[in-house]
Amino acid sequence: MEFLNQNSLYIVLIITVICWFGIFGYLLSLDKKIKKLEEKINKE
């Protein structure tokens, strides 16, 4: 904690990485959903 208080750059780093993980996860789940939908529609 002490370390983070003195180096605010690392707080920026943590926030940015979390944002990126969020975006990445979202894209990944979207990709899976669309793949499922494609399979379903093309089967019909």
Partner: protein, 229 residues
């Protein structure tokens, strides 16, 4: 799937390296970045701001190429691709403008000062805005596709003029010590590696988003065609 994992890990590493690597005046090991005089930590923006602007330009060119393809083949799929690229380009264009403006406030003292590159991104924003305004005012699908393709070609052709005109009118404030007009890159190897992988990573993310939206729109279109029959 492998590429997605590589992309996920790669861009995470880029973020960590871009933000966390210490800046020292004489970098001796590979894990140290050089200090850019006058910018210090603010120089780290190059790893995130430049790639957004780069993606914005890539998206514009993609949209243009698919627009030309549409005019040649009249295949509505190309229009779907063209508009998707334009939509993402608009998004990244806004990101680049906003990040640039915030950075400019703390470096040059004002959010906006009509620096040549700010002017060009402003023009790009205007073109995207006009493009979508045009699209929303045409109801017939085929007409919308061909008119917006024609518009983006004409708009795209005016962009190179700025390269000749802007230097005649104003001088640039943009940090050129890093990439100067002769194309010589004054980055140390570490910076270069991070910068280039960031560019690749952002382009890959753009391509992924593009791919997802095109697939989605295609499904929508298929469904629409099915309902009519």
């Amino acid at each position: 799937m492998v590429f997605k994992i590589i992309l996920g890990i790669g861009l995470t590493l880029v973020i960590i390296a871009g933000i966390a690597l210490p800046m020292v005046s004489n970098p001796s090991s590979f894990f140290e970045l050089p200090v850019v005089p006058g910018l210090e930590d603010k120089a780290r923006i190059i790893f995130f701001h430049v790639p957004t602007a780069w993606v914005c330009v890539i998206a514009f060119i993609t949209s243009l190429i698919y627009g030309i393809q549409y005019l040649r083949t009249k295949e509505i799929l190309y229009d779907i691709k063209s508009v998707t690229a334009a939509g993402l380009g608009f998004l990244f264009c806004i990101l680049a403008t906003v990040t640039g403006a915030i950075w400019s406030k703390f470096t040059w003292g004002a959010f906006w000062n009509w620096d040549p590159r700010q002017t060009s991104i402003f023009v790009l924003l205007l073109i995207y805005g006009a493009y979508f305004a045009l699209r929303s005012s045409i109801e017939v699908e085929e007409k919308r596709a061909s008119l917006s393709a024609v518009y983006s070609i004409i708009a795209g052709l005016t962009v190179p003029f700025f390269i000749f005109i802007i230097p005649r009118i104003v001088s640039s404030l943009h940090p050129d010590p890093i990439i100067n007009p002769q194309g010589k890159i004054h980055m140390n190897p570490t910076m270069l590696v991070i910068f280039l992988s960031s560019l690749t990573g952002f382009t890959a993310v753009y391509y992924w988003m593009f791919n997802l939206r095109v697939r989605f729109s295609k499904l929508l279109y298929q469904q629409q065609m099915k309902e009519q029959e």
